[in-house]
């Protein structure tokens, strides 16, 4: 495996800290133990900027810290959180933000996050829950579906806004003109 760069190490650390802090202020939904979670928007942006490994570890570390300070780790969802970051990172790997942001990149980002949350919450989390906790199928898929859709919406809205704002702070290549 390629060694993590220093920048990724720091991005994982600070990304996980952000994930944790945002996870603590989540807005509840009508379904139990499921929240509108802003942290996934941030995780998606970081996964796009710093790559799949960063996305994976931000999810794993951040979610473990949230759970460990709440009620003990719920490993199936922790793994699903990590996988969401990994998938977004893999799909958006080829996008170079230093060239600026255009509609195509934003669409790619949103496709990536929809796939990632669909796979993570609609498949990985419920399947692991069945293996580990043996809860009823209907409840798990319902819970996964609500979590997945709400994460998709928050990431779609807030993540896209974040990316646009970030791209405005970047200095574009060739932005200097000779006078």
């Amino acid at each position: 495996m390629k060694k993590l760069s220093v920048k990724s190490v720091v991005a994982i650390g600070i990304g996980a800290a952000l994930f944790f802090v945002l996870g603590k202020i989540s807005i509840p939904t009508p379904v139990p133990n499921t929240y509108i979670s802003l942290q996934y928007a941030v995780q998606a942006v970081f996964a796009m900027l710093f790559g799949p490994i960063a996305g994976l570890l931000i999810g794993l570390v951040g979610h473990t810290l949230i759970d460990a300070t709440n009620y003990g780790p719920w490993w199936s969802w922790i793994i699903a959180s990590g996988m969401a970051g990994l998938i977004i990172g893999i799909i958006t790997m080829k996008l170079d933000m230093s060239e600026g942001l255009d509609g195509k990149k934003l669409i790619r980002f949103n496709v990536a996050q929809v796939i990632a949350h669909l796979v993570s919450w609609g498949f990985i989390a419920p399947c692991l829950d069945i293996l580990i906790y043996a809860e009823p199928l209907e409840k798990l898929f319902m819970q996964g579906l609500v979590a997945g859709i709400s994460n998709m919406l928050t990431t779609g809205v807030v993540g896209t806004l974040l990316l646009i704002a970030y791209s405005k702070t970047l200095v574009k290549k060739g932005s200097l003109n000779k006078e």
Binding site: V6, K7, A11, A16, V21, L57, P73, L162
Partner: protein, 277 residues
């Protein structure tokens, strides 16, 4: 927005505190795996008793962790409620027996099997809670990276985790500052506003927070690069402690627990302990 109460390290002198971080990490991981694997009531009850004993030894006081237990209780209650709402007869299928205690309405009956299933499901979470709390309360955060590295995780990842722990208070302070500044400008976050407005408003807080975090990543990673971080394949840790006899004993105990757990759970070929057949 009020500062959220967060479980953190409690410095104290006790046997649990004196164990190395590595021991505690391994013990905690094995313990939670043991609880995940089993659905055997006898094992779960033993683990629950064990976790209380460890809690006693740690000298952490009950009131110091009470607020977290409240959260856990709400979480479990909701979980149980929804499992029941979705499949009120799930336990019947699981234990292949049906003892109706009373009928509520329609498909909602209360069966002994369902109650037993709920009991087991709750136990699985409850017996991990004290150990997880103690792991957080008794492990010095600065020792945590060292313990991760010593169980074979790459030191870069270990370092990320300790960076995360280091920057949580900073990010939290930034968050509070930004959200108060935005609230002063009339951006509402509390329940008074509509749901969608709240999401949009939260973006107004998130933007400065994420952008300042990205700047911070730049600064910190430059500083680390200047100091030659990541040049070598190995790294030593200032806070790492030597293994003592009690560490080996605790590790041995953890391995014994998981071995016994697997043995008792799967001896009869089923994951569930079934008193109904």
């Amino acid at each position: 927005m009020a500062k959220v109460a967060i479980m953190s390290y409690i410095r104290r002198k006790s046997l649990v505190h004196e164990l190395t971080g590595t021991t505690k990490l391994v013990f905690f991981l094995l313990w939670s795996v043991a609880a995940m694997v089993t659905y055997d009531t006898r094992v779960l009850l033993c683990m629950l008793a064990g976790s209380f004993v460890i809690f006693k030894i740690s000298k952490v006081r009950f009131r110091e962790v009470r607020f977290v237990l409240g959260l856990a209780a709400v979480f479990l209650l909701m979980n149980n409620l929804f499992v029941y709402l979705f499949s009120p007869e799930y336990g019947v299928g699981l234990y292949r027996s049906r003892t109706v205690l009373l009928t509520v309405a329609g498909p909602y009956t209360v069966t002994l099997e369902q109650l037993f299933y709920h009991f087991n499901m709750t136990m699985k979470v409850v017996c991990v809670v004290p150990v997880a709390l103690l792991f957080i309360a008794c492990t010095d955060p600065s020792e945590f990276a060292a313990s991760l590295a010593s169980i074979g995780v790459s030191y870069r990842i270990g370092y990320s985790v300790s960076l995360a722990l280091r920057y949580i208070p900073d990010v939290q302070r930034d968050f509070t500052n930004i959200s108060q500044a935005q609230q002063a400008r009339g951006i509402e976050l509390s329940g008074k506003d509509k749901f969608w407005t709240r999401i949009k408003n939260s973006a107004a807080i998130l933007l400065p927070l994420v952008l300042s975090s990205l700047n911070r990543i730049e600064t910190v990673s430059n500083a680390m690069e200047l100091r030659g971080f990541g040049k070598k394949n190995k790294r030593t840790w200032y806070v790492q402690r030597k293994f003592q006899k009690k560490d080996w004993i605790a590790m041995g105990l953890a391995v014994a627990i998981i071995a016994l757990d697997l043995l008792i759970t799967f001896r009869d070929g089923s994951r569930y302990y079934n008193p109904f057949l």
